[in-house]
Amino acid sequence: MIQFEGVNKWYKRYHALNNICGEVRAGEVLVVCGPSGSGKSTMIRTINKLEEIQSGTIRVEGQSICGEKVDINRLRAKIGFVFQQFNLFPHLSVKDNIALSPVKVGGMARNEAYALAEELLHKVGLGDKLDAMPANLSGGQQQRVAIARALAQKPTLLLFDEPTSALDPEMVGEVLNVMKSLAAEGMTMVCVTHEMNFAREVADRVWFMDRGEILEDAPPAEFFSRPRHERARKFLADIIH
């Protein structure tokens, strides 16, 4: 589904991604963890080209996303992206937030898009919030709307960039539950997260990143019980208290 081949990125002289190589297979859930500044957010944002890379190749569904010829909007339309800060459109109602992409990018009729919005809101447990404005929702509800918005694109791949980091603790569970049910349906997912229990329960594989490199690429059982790298051991010791 996704292949990284020798991907490098610099911010000025700072080496943000250092020779990233790896693969995410269809139907797989990959959890990416690591200390802040380790490049995990930068890495996930390169997959839908919110960040440009300077060398290497990234393939999504077998096709390179690098180069001038790539239709970036078509690529993005099939990749759902969920942000740490939700980034719902505050001037649009919940249903318009969800219907925007299907209508404007997919060319769907508005009624049909609203029906889809309703169906997806039921799925994330917010069936009664169709006409609400984002400002009236809690953080957890906003993030679930954001997931519904991503699902409305009928994505083949979902990317989560620290989806629960901006939430109050009591709202983390409701968002993780939605993510778990998506994983159970076989959705291909890449999640940057500090939720180690989620990683243990749901992930097929864990990447540990530090200083722009992937230091560990292992199934969660192996990663948590026998981290090979010293920095991974320290990270796990710091995070699980």
Partner: protein, 231 residues
């Protein structure tokens, strides 16, 4: 005062119309309305160009803004009045000259408001829009401008009010509008200048107060809409 208004009411309201071009308060209203109707769309384009990644567009729009906001309106009016006919070889009526000068001048200021408004929309909004597959113009139209324009209302009203008042200086090239009428009345009356110009000042004040009021209501409405309180 009543007799004064009785004598000069029509001159204040419509100038020498129907025996000449429409002027007075009506003239000001028309000039201001057309000025804003021309300057605002121009400013939208220039302001958006200022934020674009296209270097020539950015350079041109920046040059426009820096040039015209650094020159007094009256200079632009004079140039348009004296220089333009020489350059294009025929006379342009004073009204059109004044209108063009106002559009050029005000578009520079409004464009900066538009630019600031667009840049005040959080980067995450643009990223979210691009991430769902919207293109540059779709993002601008559906996500950036609706939020930016609503944030811009106070500054826009400021500039609109300032535009209305700025129309008063074009009487100097003989455009029939409110200040021109007041000037005419003053030269007929010779005395009571205070009274004449008080009526003129009151007119501008009421017009601008009305506009501010309407804008405030629009602002509240948009705020309530975001909070889900609007009906």
């Amino acid at each position: 005062m009543i007799e004064f208004l009785h004598t000069y009411g029509m001159l204040f309201l419509v100038g020498s119309w129907p025996n000449g071009p429409i002027g007075g308060f009506a003239g000001t209203l028309i000039l201001a309305a057309l000025g804003l109707a021309g300057a605002f769309p121009a400013a939208l384009v220039i302001g958006v160009a200022r934020t674009s990644g296209n270097a020539p567009l950015k350079w041109l729009s920046s040059a426009w803004v820096h040039t015209f906001r650094s020159i007094p309106l009256i200079m632009i009016v004079f140039w348009a009045y004296f220089l333009l006919p020489v350059m294009i070889g025929f006379e342009v009526p004073p009204f059109s000259t004044a209108l063009a000068a106002i559009i050029v001048y005000e578009s520079a200021f409004l464009a900066e408001i538009v630019r600031a408004g667009i840049q005040s929309v959080p980067a995450g909004q643009v990223e979210a829009a691009r991430a769902v597959g919207l293109g540059y113009f779709q993002t601008l139209w559906s996500v950036q401008l609706p939020q930016a324009l609503s944030n811009m209302i106070p500054s826009l009203v400021n500039q609109f009010v300032s535009t209305i008042k700025a129309t008063s200086i074009v009487y100097i090239i003989g455009v029939q509008e409110a200040a021109f009428s007041a000037q005419q009345i003053n030269s007929i009356e010779l005395t009571g200048a205070l009274r004449t110009y008080l009526v003129l000042a009151l007119f501008y004040f009421l017009l601008c107060a009305l506009l501010s009021r309407l804008a405030r209501r629009l602002e509240l409405h948009l705020q309530n809409k975001r909070l889900g309180l609007a009906i």
